[in-house]
Amino acid sequence: MRRDIYQAIADPTRRAILTLLTVGALTPNAIAGHFGSSRQAVSKHIQILAECGAVDQTHSGREIYYQLNIDRMKEIDHWMEAFRKLWETRFNQLDEVLLTMKKNKK
């Protein structure tokens, strides 16, 4: 199944993992240490995050570290910004309309 960035943030555990990684790269063990769920469950979420492109792997000696893929996460910000701007524009237009309505009332 094809995965995308929206699937990465669809689950609360995965959002928590992403939040953890904003501080810095972590090993799977270090990530799992923050959660009550089993290591396998956390590991499955990390795998999904990697498939979504939300996190990247780096190897350091025998350890694997996961870090946020900032560019992929920015895709989400991009559409939010577009949506925010639509509402901002819409409401600025409404300000003008209200001003005209007030004048006409007087």
Binding site: W87, R90, V97
Partner: protein, 167 residues
């Protein structure tokens, strides 16, 4: 016009709900009219140079607004808003659905549940809107239901709006 009018926009990813709050320098009944009368709505709903064209609007519980967002090139994107509850001047709720021009609901596009609250203090009216995407109960489900395509389409459409606005 005051520059200090509040504008707040947040998205709760866990519930797929968008929250928009805005203050207006007008009394509550005026702002209410701007949201509930078609001839006023059409003046501001579409970001220029797009236009909003309401074909039918029956603002009462169980009623609906059928309207299109029209691009400068003449494309029309039709939607229907069904009013599910109205408390005059204070609140209304609606379900918003994408349709074709004959009001056939596009089952691939997600519908959304809207709640709009109006309140006034010292001549400033605050409008708080929440938009919950009901088919987005989980994003995974949404992708399975073909949401992604619809969503991307909506975003491309928004991008287009913004590009046009910059011209």
């Amino acid at each position: 016009m005051k520059n200090s009018l509040l504008f707040d926009f947040t998205i709760d990813k866990s519930t797929n709900t968008v929250f928009v709050t805005r203050e207006f320098e007008a009394d509550q009944s005026l702002v209410w009219d701007a949201f509930t009368k078609q001839e006023i709505l059409d003046q501001w709903w579409a970001p220029k140079p797009w236009t909003s064209k309401t074909r039918h609007m029956n603002f009462e519980t169980g009623g609906r607004r059928v309207y299109a967002m029209c691009s400068p090139a003449g494309e029309e994107f039709w939607s229907v808003q069904k009013y599910t509850a109205i408390s005059p001047k204070e609140n209304f709720k609606q379900i918003s659905l994408f349709t074709d021009k004959d009001e056939n609901v596009n089952s691939d596009m997600p519908g959304s549940e809207w709640n709009l609250d109006f309140s006034e203090a010292e001549g400033i009216t605050t409008v708080s809107i929440s938009i919950k995407h009901k088919t987005l109960a989980t994003l995974e489900q949404m992708i399975k239901m073909g949401f992604k395509e619809g969503f991307t389409m909506t975003l491309n459409y928004l991008d287009q709006l913004l590009t046009d606005l910059k011209k």
